[in-house]
């Protein structure tokens, strides 16, 4: 047992670190715990990804024939760690790289692959994933956005929601209902949609933290050529599962904290604890201790998953436990951080304008929902890891149009 890189991993890490140092002046940087708002810094973020792509640090696990590096999941994790260490923000096209691109690789035509993939890696095009709808969140297969065949085109009408990056995206993968007479999972079809096409309207969606990190996307008679279909008509669910399995790999959490880090909470405690009264200090130390234990438990569990990757394994359903644990830790960490603010905790920011901990707390409910709600993850773990039966369902076999959705 050790926490050191293998010789191969160490060599790869050194190479990545050297490349990042070499290009440091060309890259956008953020403070620890800060993210870069794509709304405000789109051009810099695109430029940063382009530099990294040309340096061979983007699409690490993608096959070489599509412009990737043909590397391992461990190498991808190492690059992510080194980017974080160098204070480079998350790549603007992380959804494209992690989810849309692999879906195009798996289900796209040669023509689509050659037109899209290289540009995606260099952030010449930014991609988004158009899955969730107002009436289909956890129950994704209940989606209603329709695509109707019209000659060589499909005509799309409906609404998507919680679409990260839609406001800067050039393309998206779009899951639609093409046959409402078939059962819900069987009537779906996936497309690549041009986000600049007539009839596509993107509106920012302001979430409870006050930020607008997501969007609503409206489709009004948007025409998509049949050549932009991914997979066969009616095969959309299978295509979507490719995307979602890649999402699991992307957010499986191989030892990186969700939300504010344990180190950030420790530093914050050092700053703020002495200003609290004696009783509050005792309670705050308990809260900080509990939060740090949860964060360390999640972190070291992530290291076990990382080891699995290192041994050539693939993340399974137990990766869902990583997100559950990370979310629970984020909740405790942000709450302890707020508690340390003392009287300032009733305000949206401290007197000097710092809103770090209130923002962190207001993000936690979203973390517990996005990418699989805590409840859906518990179902996955209960059914696939513990072997408990699923709840009986009435919606799987009846035609979607019949009302049992």
């Amino acid at each position: 047992m050790d926490f050191d890189d293998t010789p191969d991993e160490a060599a790869y890490r050194a190479q990545a670190r050297a490349l990042l140092a070499e290009h440091d002046a060309e890259l956008l940087h953020v403070r620890p715990g800060e993210s870069a708002d794509a709304r405000l810094r789109e051009a810099e973020l695109r430029a940063t990804q382009r530099v990294l792509a040309d340096a061979g640090l983007v699409g690490v696990t993608w096959p070489r024939e599509y412009g990737g590096q043909g590397g391992t999941l461990v190498q991808q994790a190492i690059v992510a760690q080194e980017l974080s260490r160098a204070r480079v923000p998350t790549l603007i096209n992380h959804i494209g790289i992690g989810m849309c691109g692999p879906t195009v690789i798996a289900h796209g035509s040669d023509d689509q692959r050659s037109r899209y993939l290289a540009r995606l890696l260099r952030a010449d095009d930014v991609w988004c994933q158009l899955f969730s709808e107002p009436a289909s969140g956890s129950d994704l297969a209940a989606l209603r956005t329709s695509a109707v065949r019209d000659g060589e085109d499909w005509v799309v009408n409906g609404q998507k929601v919680w679409t990260t990056l839609a406001h800067v995206a050039d393309f998206g993968i779009l899951l639609t209902r093409t046959d409402p007479e078939r059962p819900k999972h069987a009537g779906l079809t996936m497309f690549v949609v041009d986000m600049h096409a007539p009839g596509v309207t993107v509106r920012p969606l302001r979430q409870m933290s006050g930020d607008a990190g997501f969007n609503e996307v409206f489709f009004d008679d948007v025409r998509i050529p049949d050549s932009e279909r991914l997979g066969e008509p009616g095969e959309g669910w299978r295509v979507a599962l490719t995307t979602l399995m890649n999402e699991r790999v992307a957010i499986g959490g191989a030892g990186s904290d969700i939300g504010q880090s344990a180190e950030a909470l420790a530093a914050h405690t050092r700053d703020r604890l002495p200003a609290l009264g004696a009783e509050q200090q005792a309670l705050a130390r308990q809260a900080v201790g509990r939060a740090l234990v949860a964060a360390l438990a999640a972190r070291y569990t992530g290291y076990r998953r990382f080891t699995t990757l290192s041994q050539g394994g693939v993340p399974g359903p137990e990766a869902s436990a990583g997100k559950l644990g990370g979310t629970a830790a984020a909740r405790l960490v942000s709450d302890a951080g707020v508690r340390l603010l003392g009287d300032d905790a009733v305000y949206g920011a401290t007197a000097d304008g710092d809103e770090t901990w209130q923002k962190a707390a207001a993000y936690v409910p979203g973390i517990a929902i996005a990418g699989g709600t805590d409840q859906v993850l518990r179902n996955i773990l209960g059914e696939r890891v513990l072997g408990l039966p699923a709840e009986p369902r009435t919606d799987k076999t009846a035609p979607f149009s019949g009302g049992r959705r």
């Binding site: 047992m1 050790d2 926490f3 050191d4 890189d5 293998t6 991993e9 344990a262 180190e263 909470l265 420790a266 405690t269 050092r270 604890l273 005792a282 130390r285 308990q286 900080v288 201790g289 509990r290 740090l292 234990v293 949860a294 360390l296 438990a297 999640a298 070291y300 569990t301 290291y303 076990r304 990382f306 080891t307 290192s310 041994q311 137990e318 436990a321 559950l324 644990g325 409840q375 518990r378 179902n379 773990l381 209960g382 059914e383 890891v385 513990l386 072997g387 408990l388 039966p389 699923a390 709840e391 009986p392």
Partner: protein
């Protein structure tokens, strides 16, 4: 990174599982609670198979193994509520680093040892003291060994052998032993967290197996999300506890600077996870889980006792916060 057990450690865990399963029926924990027998497998069996000397140097008759080697065995003992605890063996092995003759007696079981918490003139309830005859304690900063007068209380969990002890004789083994004592206590906390890991894991398994069989309202209860999610939360806790136990055991062996933080984190988390697992297994079983005849309460009892031994959660959480503020996270 290789944060995983070695093949040898996996084999040792499998061997330990076989030994404990064969030598420790859960009826032993109930019988001990009813005053009708001693905890199983008992000191002699643990000594004979070599488990009391896993971390004792080979030169003193032990196996010269690591704390992690011991932890993977302790996990298996915890699963069946074995007694006496390997915590005592782990802690005493550290304290007796400078007393190889006593370490030999620890490993071969010829001395029935316990480590005393609190003042040696009247100790706090101490693990496996009830049937011990030789005691290690900290007296005015010195490590002492001696015989004593044992006062057990009525057991809540009879497998822990708790008793208060007043030393009637004492011999100084080492002056200025404060640091040694603290390290031994931390190692003991890690091994207790490992035993709690095994016990919590087994409790969750019992709950899952029952939820797969028991039917209510026309289907097995494990299909209901209300039941399923309770079990999943308990399982996730166990899975994460395993990570902290491994880290803390690794730190004891390879990164002593990280041991205080890792041991405190593991012990605090073990208390929470094991208690939740034990309460979950009772709840999932419903009425039968609340009966004396069912095994669930044996785990619940162990959880209720262990959470307070070697420092309660409040003490360890406070330590984690203080250590982190002092830069222990690096």
């Amino acid at each position: 990174m290789n944060f995983d057990l070695s093949d040898d450690q996996r084999a040792a865990a499998a061997g330990a599982r076989e030994f404990f399963t064969g030598s420790v029926p859960l009826s032993a924990a109930r019988a001990a609670l009813e005053g009708d027998g001693a905890p199983a497998p008992g000191r002699k069996a643990l000594a004979d198979i070599g488990f009391l000397g896993i971390t004792v140097p080979e030169s003193a008759g032990g196996a010269g193994g690591s704390v992690l080697d011991l932890a993977v065995v302790a996990e298996q003992g915890g699963a069946v509520l074995a007694g006496p605890s390997l915590v005592t063996a782990a802690r005493a092995a550290v304290l007796l680093e400078g007393a190889p003759d006593l370490a030999t007696q620890l490993a071969d079981g010829s001395a029935a040892m316990a480590v005393l918490d609190g003042p040696v003139t009247g100790s706090a309830p101490s693990l496996d003291a009830a049937d011990a005859t030789l005691f290690l304690g900290l007296d005015d900063g010195a490590l002492v060994v001696g015989e004593g007068e044992v006062v057990p209380g009525r057991p809540l969990d009879a497998t822990r052998g708790l008793a208060s002890v007043r030393l009637t004789s004492r011999r100084v083994l080492a002056e200025d032993a404060g640091e040694l004592w603290a390290r031994a206590r931390a190692v003991g906390a890690v091994v207790m967290a490992a035993e709690d890991l095994g016990a919590a894991d087994r409790a969750v398994l019992m709950g899952v197996q029952y939820a797969q069989q028991r039917e209510a309202f026309g289907r097995v209860i494990g299909s209901y999300q209300a039941v399923k999610h309770m079990l999943v939360d308990a399982w996730v806790g166990v899975d994460q506890l395993r990570s902290l136990v491994w880290w803390a055991a690794w730190a004891a062996d390879s990164a002593p600077g990280e041991l205080p933080l890792a041991a405190a984190a593991a012990k605090a988390y073990a208390a929470e996870v094991f208690e939740r697992a034990a309460e979950t297994v009772v709840q999932v079983h419903g009425g039968i889980g609340f009966t004396w005849e069912h095994d669930a309460h044996l785990y619940w009892r162990r959880a209720r006792v262990d959470r307070l031994l070697l420092g309660d959660a409040a003490e360890h959480l406070d330590a984690v916060a203080r250590l982190a503020v002092d830069g222990a996270l690096g």
